[in-house]
């Protein structure tokens, strides 16, 4: 397979023509959608993507339609030059970095929504968020024509929604979820960590401590949701600067609430530190050995 030169593509039609060409050449295309401001979490997705195909496309687009009117679209951190350098280092072939105006024309009015999965958890506080995500991911799939798409497990609900979207709309794309990458103290990497004050940053690892406490109780045999959630809540509530948005235990596939853990289940949480909303999750039992 011939090497392809590193390139930044801005126009959706040009991206699709490029991808169609490579597909016809028999290349396996992998896409890693991002909103940029890359951290080690993104880099782990890119490295996995590199391993899984011939042509690695990273998309770099801060999608306005997945932000609510009072959210942080305007201040969302950006560093395109830095992102391109990191992408190149990780072996990305093509960065697709469109302008919002080339993604959404003036008559644009089509949206994709995944109904039940988009309601709870982050969807409750962010009512338009997941329709924005499902729509832009559909568009990005249509212009990058991937065989494989790689997403992080930190956005657990998003990953669940995308798996459902791909299945329901017959995309025929393999969706790969990658483990959360963390700071040494357990804080999940996020572009939004940059918003935290020093004091908030010091308290933020409590999310992880809470989830680990619940997981330890699960490993010790506890199966009652209320008890597991109480174990998770204690360290998080001890954060004087944090306010829990949600802390819930749900079926890991349907995201329906469950009382007793008799199937794969996730505990997911969102905590506000000031205006900054951090999320984390754990699929119970997956840290156990064998």
């Amino acid at each position: 397979m011939a090497d392809v030169p590193f390139e930044v593509i801005r126009e959706p039609a040009a991206m699709r023509a490029y991808a169609e060409d490579k597909r016809r050449d028999g290349m396996t295309i992998v896409v890693v959608p991002t909103m940029g401001f890359l951290h080690a979490g993104h880099l782990s997705l890119l490295r996995e993507g590199r391993r899984r195909g011939d042509l690695l496309i990273m998309t770099l687009f801060v999608n306005p339609t997945q932000f609510g009117p009072n959210e942080d679209l305007d201040r969302y951190p950006r560093d395109e030059a830095g992102d391109l350098a990191k992408a190149r280092e990780c072996g990305v072939d093509i960065v697709f970095a469109p302008d919002a105006s080339s993604m959404y024309g003036p008559l644009s009015q089509t949206s994709v929504s995944v109904s039940e999965l988009s309601q709870p958890l982050c969807g409750a506080a962010r009512p338009v968020h997941f329709a924005g995500v499902a729509t832009v991911v559909t568009k990005l799939f249509h212009v990058t024509l991937p065989h494989v798409a790689v997403f992080g497990e930190k956005d657990f609900q998003q990953l669940t929604i995308i798996r459902r979207l791909v299945e329901d709309l017959d995309f025929g794309i393999e969706v790969v979820g990658m483990p959360i990458v963390r700071e040494r103290d357990g804080l999940a990497l996020s572009s939004r960590n940059a918003y935290l004050s020093q004091e908030q940053r010091a308290q933020a690892p409590a999310l992880r401590r809470g989830l680990l406490a619940a997981n330890a109780a699960f490993d010790a045999g506890e199966r009652t949701a209320l008890t597991l959630l109480a174990a998770a809540r204690e360290p998080i509530e001890a954060c004087t600067l944090g306010a829990i948005d949600y802390l819930e235990l749900r079926d890991a596939e349907t995201l329906e609430p469950i009382d007793t853990v008799d199937r794969p289940a996730v505990i997911a949480t969102a905590v506000f530190f000031g205006k900054t909303r951090l999320i984390d999750n754990i699929v119970l039992g997956t840290l156990s050995v064998g």
Copy 2:
């Protein structure tokens, strides 16, 4: 390009694998989506489709999600054996005829909607209809991977919605609209004409007569919507067995109502004959010579 044997494919994944294979071979794929019970209108789409590509796929699927709870899903006419014979005669290579259960799994919950364009006209009486259409067309595009898709202009609003869907979601598919095929007396061909009693059938050409009257007034220089609509209404209201659902003049691209025809405009109508709802439309001025 090697000939391909006529084949009926039932499974979405098998259809996609087949289409991917032909795309990689460099074939141009044309799809004609239908709900079967083919009449001469469908056949004109198939013949145009045959002309436009190397591989002609007809889809044959009475999509349950585009029927409302009180609509005619259960009695919608079907004749698969006849349809396959006609498809073959028109040069169709592949008929994709899935079961509803292979299109919609038990957890299926993703829908595609085209908002403003789906509200008026047929959307007012059929609130879930166009989301059902947009969703199934998205799925059919994903499994047939067409370069070109052919639809009839009789479903003018549907065609407008599909053009918008294709543009908004970056499908990169050429959408071809084909003129309405009519009986000698002007009635637009429709699978639902089979529901009409002899008396209803005798009155049904009034839709066409009304639209032609409005078009004649337009060609004579009339530009006021109310006047054009009055010209169309007279013959239709003379039908003792018909009840107008809507009769409207709208921008042919945005479907917004307009008072004065200063841009491409369509008059569209739906008329109930008993439980049977017939539709027809005319783009003003398109019958004029030069």
